[in-house]
Symmetry: C2
Subunit: 148 residues, 2 copies
């Protein structure tokens, strides 16, 4: 079975939000190499996002509030580590995409992820599992009536 916990499925009431585009960029870096300081993260992101250092830090700060990353004060500087697991997060995006954009109910065929620069063969196997779980969970989920 999968070594990951399917972070997204739980928590129906709080509607666990997905990371935004820039947040995902940061998470990707962290999944590659962990932990990293704000400065390190920034230096990599700069080329891609063209941000000022402050923007990077603010984003990190907000990600902390949302529980996407954990801060570790190491001496005087903080370093960050992802608290969101890679594969469940990615699977969540995939499922949401399939469902919301294309109205595909069953799990997506993992074949489509073969060319991804992000996932290894081993991870693809996990992804398959996760996608299946998510698809199943979705079918049993009652229609959200949006009551506050």
């Amino acid at each position: 079975m999968s070594q990951y916990t399917a972070t997204f499925i739980l928590n129906s009431r709080t509607a666990m939000q997905q990371p935004t585009a820039p947040e995902l960029e940061i998470l990707k870096l962290l999944w590659q190499k962990q932990p990293l300081t704000a400065r390190e993260l920034h230096d990599e992101l700069e080329t891609v996002l063209g941000w000022g250092y402050s923007s990077t830090r603010k984003t990190l700060e907000r990600m902390g509030e949302k529980g996407f990353v954990a801060v570790q004060a190491q001496g005087n500087k903080n370093s960050y580590r992802a608290t969101l697991d890679k594969m469940p997060t990615l699977a969540g995006f995939a499922q949401d995409f399939a469902k919301r954009i294309f109205e595909i109910d069953g799990p997506l065929p993992v074949a489509m992820f073969a060319d991804s620069k992000l996932v290894s063969a081993a991870e693809i196997a996990d992804l398959e599992q996760l996608l299946q779980q998510l698809a199943a969970a979705q079918l049993t989920k009652p229609v959200d009536s949006g009551e506050p």
Copy 2:
């Protein structure tokens, strides 16, 4: 060849934005049956989004400003029609998803859309074309340096 114009590719400076989640919901309805009045749209959306009538109209209004829909004053009531073409829009979402989330450069395999409740076999063929174009366009596109 595809009967659609690839609305998204053009327009590099203005960065043609994609519709948001609720906006897409509205577009989907319009692609199914066109034109529709605000009230008609609302009655269908209500169950899914749990919105008030005003919210629906405001969203429609903003979609008009963005050029996603066109308004037609018919007597005293307005009806709306989508100005965004279905397949190019969907293809845009797919490509963006592949690229931004999974870092897949080539075009997505169309097989994955087979189970979509949204696209017919004929449309899948078009989708394939569009995805290929988008993937190609992406490769030649220079890195965005974010200069204002």
